[in-house]
Symmetry: C2
Subunit: 490 residues, 2 copies
Amino acid sequence: MREGFEIRDADAAGRIGELEIPRADVTVETPALLPVVNPNLQTIPPADLAETFGAEILITNSYIVHSNDELRDRALEEGLHDLLGFDGAIMTDSGSFQLAEYGEIDVTTEEILAFQHEIGSDVGTPVDVPTPPGADRDRAEADLERTQERLDIADGIDVGDMLVSAPIQGSTFADLREDAARHADATDLDVFPIGAVVPLMNDYRYGDMVDVVAAAKRGLGRDAPVHLFGAGHPMMFALAVAMGCDLFDSAAYALYARDGRYLTVRGTEHLDDLDYLPCSCPVCTEHDADSFRDLDEKDRETALARHNLHVTFAEMRRIKAAIRSGDLLELVEERARSHPAMLDGYRALLEYAEWLEEDDPASKGTFFYCSSESARRPEVRRHHDRLDRLDIPDELLLTEGPHVDRFETSWRLVPPFGPVPRDLSTTYPLNAEVPSRTDSAAIEVAAEGVNRLAEANPGTDLAVAHRGWPDHVLAEVPEDVELIDLDAMG
Amino acid sequence: MREGFEIRDADAAGRIGELEIPRADVTVETPALLPVVNPNLQTIPPADLAETFGAEILITNSYIVHSNDELRDRALEEGLHDLLGFDGAIMTDSGSFQLAEYGEIDVTTEEILAFQHEIGSDVGTPVDVPTPPGADRDRAEADLERTQERLDIADGIDVGDMLVSAPIQGSTFADLREDAARHADATDLDVFPIGAVVPLMNDYRYGDMVDVVAAAKRGLGRDAPVHLFGAGHPMMFALAVAMGCDLFDSAAYALYARDGRYLTVRGTEHLDDLDYLPCSCPVCTEHDADSFRDLDEKDRETALARHNLHVTFAEMRRIKAAIRSGDLLELVEERARSHPAMLDGYRALLEYAEWLEEDDPASKGTFFYCSSESARRPEVRRHHDRLDRLDIPDELLLTEGPHVDRFETSWRLVPPFGPVPRDLSTTYPLNAEVPSRTDSAAIEVAAEGVNRLAEANPGTDLAVAHRGWPDHVLAEVPEDVELIDLDAMG
């Protein structure tokens, strides 16, 4: 077990954890949102980030501090915490973003880590080399090699009790991401940012984002704290947490505010386009759309940044509450409806149901069937695996409706689970709540369950009493299973 | 056109309207939430309901005022507005709830309407007879007859410029609800509460609720303001507004607070069970879960009621913003994932796609395909109807992928719409955003579109180039349509 990160609760691949930051002498609860603080321009004072919004950790860019004489001198003299006026933990980025944007920077990993340590950073970052999506494989491999060299350098430097992050690159090549993660995991570095996903998110490529995160997670130990670097839009936090991401940073709250953009968990609005404020936060309670717009430019920007932060931190709390009550996937279900690209992300997530199942708790509250996607949730898959191992009688009716007298034993037949053994019907997930109007995805998956049971028990006389299942589904049921259409019986 | 209610904007069957309340000399914007104020016990002072939460109208029970000597005397002397300390519009209920609960009350419609008028109510209510779900048809008919007698009495009484509501009963018998609505619509009464739906909502029978509302709406003119009586949970507002409900009342904010229950748009939590406050409202920003719970009992109840109201009013604003931007059904999509019973309600709503289509604007922003349910949205249906009327060439390829050279003309083939004529592909809803991972519901509906086009154009040589559509869907495509599997072509 990696020291310094403890997992307290889990749901799907998401978790509530405690990350010790020894140099700041604090423990940060994850999933955590790190507001990005620009040392040149503080839209919201860092002390206020802690007090009003509950930020336990923030992130700032050591390269900007390093490049500016006045800031550098002050940081070296006062230390970063006094410079920013923040008591909690401070993570520092290294200039990799500037490297990606401008092609070069004038510090090395050794220099910037030493500088980060000197100014009192609690979590430092080496200079990794981000590879954008769309780069060819040669470039991705070459960039990754340089990144890994720098991680090895960072791993060898003594930085006292400052934690150091180990960014994972590899563009959209799943095998490279997985190898990179395995390499990072083998170092003594502490925190694992998944890098260069911002272009994917800017292009709404949430399906690809899920593939990238899944690849990195495969290469990392379960006990590795994962930072989805640059991901600050609350719309996608639930999805990313369900994939096992623990840390997020948001520059969006401030950058979007500068452009008049208003964050919601459903997407982004422009304040100028809003006739109503679709939010309950203190800013949106105090104002209506007109009075918000009529604020002085500077006040409007600050108010908008505060709204953006309220929404962002509330979504984090909502996600933690969902993990605690075991309905994180239900929250992901909802967020998946905010945009077709988010639905794509959720569908991509469910393609990893086998992997999700490994960490997913076997028992939670109640499974809610809330869409055709629910049919592919890991709990359904786990139930089907269990069907292979059950003792069943020689003759068995599976029924969506009443018992039929000529059978001695009957089990309920519940889409999407399929056969529900009597003694399991009150346990998770078979105590599921399902809509009375079912859908073909649920029926198809229920039929897969029937087939699993039939295949595992060739000696049993099975019958299926269904409510008008479609022909193409019935055609897949083994021939020796008797079919009874309850709807046709009236 | 009914005077006093003007529809300003519409989406699905939902609308933003302006309801004139002449006696209060105010115009209330709908959809509106009327907080229920108990004249004996004000959890939140009514003046605060207006100032902090923006309530333009509230509702109180004239029967409680009438039954209590002290309240009655004060109301007659000071008037209801001074008694409650509220400047906006006040609607009064009549005691029907008490009638339903206790079997009898000691006032008649004539008496209670005269009393409501005397104490200064802005919207009065006759004594209707609520019939619960599960009542047999004889009782529902008998109750409805009595209700209708009372509406006729109310219609004949001179109450000056007080508006009077005309409750619609009929239990779960759709034909009775429709008849009742037609009868109510034929009176000169002003506001149309759909009654006795609370038991349906308490039992999470949202599918049945949708059927009841749809039946009532069929009997009412489009210009009738509809009040979903007793519906105060923010989880179902979007669904109910999309059905064409305009007014809601909430006692829940206060009653739930008394029991420690915490409302969210996803359902109801118990404050005692929350480790995190999943909300951005001023109460939940000021407190964390522990400090909230640690408040004195009275302060906790007030704070909880305030949270409940913040959530409730914010959802109303969110719904109005969605109507304005034409994405109300996208919001319903999201809310449908909060509980399987809500999904049932949404699926029930889509069974009325033909009726929804009548009021739905032909052009909005962008259609978001966010679930298999989206395939049954009214916009898709309207497109299929249009396919019957298009001029098409003698030879036409419909393709999910590239053009195939041997065809002269090709149109895009987009699930769930099906054939997308070239000159319409940038117009609503064919400029839809769809996920890259499609689903079988979308493909099935797309195939229905192909079939509509084929049937309307028997002389055309049609070909379909699809990406691995399942056999059972292809089997439904007319035999003379050529099928090309793009996936199999590699």
